[in-house]
Each structure stands twice: as C-alpha cells, then as structure tokens.
Symmetry: D2
Subunit: 243 residues, 4 copies
C-alpha cells in the first residue's frame, strides 16, 4: 500500500512546439502540467511522440502501472507497432487514462472497437461537468460539479460502447451534453476516459480536474494477481465420455 504508483504521462507534444499561444498556456508541455498535478504518491515518467519509440519502449511500459494519454493532431504518426505494444500491456493489466482528444487515438479506438467519433466546437464556451456516480472512487473529494469557464465542446452521440460505469456528464453553454467520465475494462486493464483538456485552455492546472485524474490513477492501477490461464484445460471432475 505504501508503494508509489508508477505513471507514464504520454503527450503528443506538437501543439506546444508549433503554436506560441499553446506554448504560453503549457510552456513545458501538457504532459508536465498533468504530471505535476498527480501528487507525491505518484512516481511520474514522461514520454512524447517524437521520442525514440514514442518514449514507450518495452522497458518503460513494463515499469508503468498507469499510462495517461494526450494526443490530438498527430494520431496517425503513432506507429502501429507501438500501439500494439500498449494494447498488449493494457490487456495484461496496465491502467490507461485517455484524455480529451485522445478519443480518436489509435489505442483508444482499438480498445473500444468503435469509431469513437463525436460532435465538437471551439468557441470558448462554458462547460459544467456533473458527477452522476458520486460514490465512485474517481469522484472522491469532488463537489457536485466542476465548472470550466472556457473549453472546447464535445457533444453526443459519442460513439463508444456503453461504459461499464458512467461517472460524469458534461453540460455545455451551446446546448449539448456529453458522457465525460467513463470507465471500461479490457483484459486485465482498467481504462478511464476523461473529456476535458483542450490544448488552448489551462484546464490541467485546475485543481478539481487534477483531483479526478489523480483519483483515476489509483482506481486504474493493476491488482496483484496471476494472469488467467487460457488454452487446453484438463477436466477438474470425472467425465463419463472419453474425458
């Protein structure tokens, strides 16, 4: 219990290099802002698209309990081989937190099996994220809702499988709603999708948003348990046939 959770924060890290405005919001990259919000009980590593193997070498993933994923404009640049590697690690138990525009990442789509499309709009509008599963560990310590004065809008229909648990629903000034906090289980891995975090707004400095991500890290960390055995299985009881 006293052991630290090992988190790798992955960021595409292109907007910050290419746009002065985005850089002014996240001077050290979105990943750093996310990592700094995770608190002392978490051991943070950073990885970005332009690192060798996108920073997701076998060794890095094997020492990651929970991977946080932020990507947007360069999903196509993520190599399929690395996506496959991350996918295998999730199935083996690594937690995965997919943020905002990561809904369209290869890894999220591969885990969901759906198109993961949605409505969107960039209009500096207000978002209010309501907690609808208040006793879930991911909602621990939160108020009834989180107000974000300016965010990108994401609207339904969100093309995902029905989440195992729906934790939060967003209200948008322009008239839409969105399932903003969703849990899924795939193989031994636990997955949390969390909507907010457009690159142009300082969302990842917000203390409540940070609290959600931190809660999700502890929720998503792997259990300690043997991997299930698959394949040919000897009978545990006598069978009357050729057993």
């Amino acid at each position: 219990m006293s052991q630290q959770v090992r988190v790798t924060v992955w960021n595409e890290f292109r907007h910050e290099k290419e746009s002065e405005h985005i850089r002014s919001v996240y001077p050290n990259g979105i990943h750093t802002a996310i990592g700094e919000g995770l608190g002392a009980e978490v051991q943070v590593t950073y990885a970005t698209l332009d690192d060798p193997e996108h920073g997701l070498q076998e060794e890095v993933l094997n020492n990651t309990d929970v991977l946080i994923w932020w990507g947007h404009k360069a999903h196509g640049d993520v190599q399929d081989e690395i996506v496959e590697r991350v996918h295998q690690r999730v199935l083996q138990g690594m937690g995965l937190i997919v943020l905002h525009s990561g809904h369209f990442s290869k890894i999220f789509k591969k885990l969901m099996g759906t198109g993961c499309d949605l409505k969107w709009r960039e209009a500096d509008e207000k978002e209010r994220i309501w907690v609808v599963a208040p006793n879930h560990p991911i909602a621990e310590g939160l108020g009834e809702y989180i107000d974000l004065p300016e965010e990108e809008m994401y609207g339904e229909h969100f093309d995902i499988p029905a989440p195992d648990e729906l934790i939060m629903v967003s209200w948008f000034e322009g008239g839409e709603v969105f399932r903003s906090g969703c849990t899924f289980s795939r193989g031994q891995g636990k997955i949390f999708y969390f909507r907010p975090g457009h690159e142009a707004y300082p969302t990842y400095y917000n203390e409540e948003i940070r609290r959600v991500i931190r809660n999700a890290v502890f929720w998503a960390k792997p259990t300690t348990r043997e991997y299930p055995k698959y394949g040919n299985h000897k009978p545990l009881e006598t069978i009357k046939g050729r057993g």
Copy 2:
C-alpha cells in the same frame, strides 16, 4: 413489422470438406443447418470463406440486416479488408451473431478490443446452459436451461469486455462455467455471442439452440433511424464567448 429480416449466414466451411466425420454431421455445411433453423420470417443468404470476397461483397452486406458468423480453423485466412468492411457495417447498424469458435475471429476481436481467449477441451462432455436473464427477448420461449449431451468445453476466464447483458451461463461436466450468451453494442450495431456449436456435434439441429439464434436475429436487427451526425457542430444556444 411484416417485413422479413434479411440474414446472411457465414461459415468457414472447411471442416465439412476435409473431415468425413464432420461432413456426416453437417452434410451441407454448418451454415445450412443454421439457416434452416431460422424459420419462415427470415430470408437467408449463405456465404463462405472460399467464395469470392468470402461471399461478403459490398452488395451482400448492404442487404444484410443480421450476419451470423461461424469460423474456427482458418480465422487467419479471412482478409483484413473484408473484416474492415464487416466492421464498418456493424458500426452502421448491421446485427452480428458470433457463434462458438468465432470468439477468435478477426471481426469479433476487433469489435471487442480484447484477446477473446478462453479455456477449452474436447471430451464429449455434457453442457447445460442456464438462462440467467429470463425476461430478455433472446430467452423468449426457452425453458430454464438447455441440455447438450456432448459438446466442447469452453471455460472462464473468457477474455471479453463485461457484456452489456449476460443472458446465459454454461455448466460443464468437467467442472467449469462459461458466460455463454452475451450481448454487446458497438456503434449502431447489436452483437450477440453464443457459445455452443462445435463442428463435431449436431448442436445446430437442436430446437432450443435454434430458438436462441432465431430470437437473437430479431433482437439484433437494425432500428430504423438516422445515423448520428459527427464532427463540427454549430451551437444550439447563444454562447457568451466568441460562440
């Protein structure tokens, strides 16, 4: 309502050609036995692996309400391009019923996002399929359980996402259990996985098994409704910002 449901039954159709024993059980192929069990309200088309485009040309799929899938030893021979085509059609609303060893088919794995592995054993043993969601339309007309005197065993852990609805659970003589009737939704498509149907046993002649598949066809047929709109979305309400 009086309109027939259009079903395409897809079968790998290799065992029946290669093994005299399997051919003696299903002389016209597993697909025919499945199709003949669907009843008069269903319009059946057949397609097999060795047909051109595996019998799943665009036109065939565009005229299919529900696709039934049986495959086992040649999953790898199904072309990725056809898998992609079927996937798109499911996301657009075509129902999909995956039978038995189809758990390892490319299309099922792609829709689930998991490994879809399980325990198995061929030992001519008894299976008893218990209904655990008796008010579900897929259980309509069934008794409390279905007894199959000889089947292949499939055992937990079954590496799928938690099903939207768990309809049936199997008991096996050798000591295992299995989630045998599971529903999933992906995009606009409804999916039903149904466990029984090893090629060496006459399972698809069993009237109760046929009833389940027939029920599933009516459950999985598409609703009539506009496809959701995705992408950039104009505000429905006035936004104070640059809205």
Copy 3:
C-alpha cells in the same frame, strides 16, 4: 405478433381537477393525452387514484401487459396494498413505464431500493433531451434530440441505481443535466423511467415524446415464457456425498 399490447395508463388525476390552468392543458386528464398518443396497435385502459382500488384491481393488472404511471402530489395516498400488488405484477413480468414526477412514487422507490431524489426547478425553461443510445428500440424513429421549449428542470444527482441502459440525457437552460431515459429490469418485469411531463406544459401532446412512450411500451411488454422455479431443487447430476 399481431396481438395488441394491453396498456393501463394510471394517473393521479388531481392537478387537473384542482387547477384551472392544468385543466386547460389537459382537459380530460394527463392519462387521456398519454393514452391517445399510444397508437392503434395498443389497447388502452385508464385508471386513476380516486377510482376504487385506484383502478388497479387484480383483474385489471392481470390483463395489463404494460402499466404507465403518472403521479406527483399524492404519492402518499396510494395504498400500500395496491403498491404491493403492482410490485408483484412487475416481478411476474408486467412492464412499467414511470413518467416524470413518478420518480417519487411508492412503486418506483420500492423497485429501485433507493431514495430516488433529485434537484428540481419550475422556471419555464428549455429542455433538450439527447439520445445517447441511438440503436436502442426505445430510440427508434427519433432524431438526435428532442427540444421542449418549456419544462420543469430535474437535475443530477438522480438517486437511482445505475440504469441497465442509459438511453437519453437532458440538457437544461439553467445549467443542469439529467439521466432522462433509463431502463431497469426487476424480476421478470422491464421498467423504463422517462423524465419529461410536468403537468403545466403540453408535453404529452408532443409527437416525439409520444413516440418514445410508444416505443417503450413495445420494449417493455412481457416475453412469453415459463416463470422460473425457485426453492428446493433435486440434483441434475450424481453427487458423491449424500446427494
């Protein structure tokens, strides 16, 4: 299949008698407006609070496939004995559609096991009901959302168990969201909770609202199937112990 579904629409029917304004909206009672929207394939019976046994005599319930429930200010006047009778019928397979302020009815609370409380406000504000499960039969024929120019607000947290399926989520002008279309299963019975329908607004004349209720009737109607057997059960297999 060609058989009509037998629906009983239950209405408290007090607002209409006591308030001139409400009577002007629903001159023949809310129940009549609901019943008239159900269409030709449905055989409608009406029952109200002030009828003998609230109009829910054993014979009426035994001949009801789906019960629709609207109540608001007089939940406490519904006799416990009748609530118990309705509860038993739902567990035996009768469908139940609970509308709007019925969230606080004795029967809904008894079936949910929770407090069923929520936030509310009467302010003639706009509601927009978004479909989040577009392939569900209850959403058949609907557009992406339903706009209601004036409705009472209901806001989260809505104190219900996590619904089996979440079909619709409401956006409110004043800044709240609500899980507005929820399915549940209890015993053999299927239950649909649908939010809109404050007595002061002509909501039940809205064609899309009527479509939802009509879809829900067909979704909730009982399956034809033996009731499960409970209690002492003889072994189906040989037991080595005293079996």
Copy 4:
C-alpha cells in the same frame, strides 16, 4: 489511508445456540469466524439478532464503515424499524456485504427491489467458485477459482437486478450454476453479495473465502465526499423565461 476500516459483523446467531452440530463448527458464532478473518487493518464490532436493537443502535451504525450481514432462519424477527435504519445508512454511504442466506434478508430485498429467490439444495456437494472479473479489486490475490468440498447449492435463476459487476460464478456438482459474487450501488452505498457460507460447513475459516470478504470490505468502504444536495435548485445560468 492508514486509518482502519470500521466493520460491524452482524449474525443472526440462532443456529449456533440451537444445534450442537452447528455449534461444533462455529463455537463462538459465525460472526466471530468472519471477524477473525478480516485481518489487522480492520476494526471489528459484533452485533447479533438478540442484542438490544439487534446490536444496530444509531451510534453503532454511525460508526460503521462496512456492515457484514449473515442471517438465515429468522429474517422475520428483524424489526422493520432497524431495517429502515440500516437502509438509510447504506443510502448515506455505509458499505454492505450480504453473505449466503442473507439473500432473503429484509435489508437485501429492500435494496434490490426484487424477490431475491433462488434454487437451493443441502447435499454436501462440491462448489467451485470461478472468478470471471479477474481485475476487480474484490478478486485481488485470488487464484482462478475457489474449491469448497462441501456446501449448500444455490442455483439460477437468482432473482436479483442485473449486478453492476459480476465477479464470480459458481459451479455445483449437482449440475447448477450461480452468480456468486455481485456488486451493486444504492445511493452512496456499495453492496457486495457473496454466496458461500452455509452454517453447517466451515466455509468462513477458508483462507480464500476470507480474502474475498476482506477485499470486499476495502472495496465497499465509503468515499469521503459531501452528500449530494436534493430539492429545489436555483439556476446556474440565466433563463430566458421567468427563471
């Protein structure tokens, strides 16, 4: 995190007094065997049916994080007022673990809203409990299954709402299956139903069974968070109507 979880173990405690055989299995009562299995991180209190207020005084419940419930032959002797008190505490966030024959307790039925009936048989038969959700915290540290050489049989259909999460499924020697580990959420409270534990067998001394109950205690303990606000709610945004 270092704080102990406060657990109250409630036992009907009648079998042990009335039957020499049961007393020989559980000389100090089933509650003591359960409590001793909870380990050092749990602070245990005991309460039994024949204590004043069944040992569940307001003060006891207000200082209970998780209540464990074992009852069988005297469900009817539990006063409705105390059931109501426990129900309120669960809705406010107290965890509840219902064991074995507690499926028919007033509190479980009240929380489920269903009949909670099942098939049963006392025949000294083998039970094998398979883990079907291996990455759930309640399954932490377990093997693939738990073997119990002699137990009472419980068989499907189990008349509960579809569980939020299905963790375990039992196989019985006599041919039945059962959903043996089920989670539910009601209000702020988390509920775990766990099947094994007939009074005539030493099940609660089994280390794996104890591990499940201990895991469930940590899973079910309340989150620290404000209770949601219900009732009349002022608008958070400007409403064009009379707002």
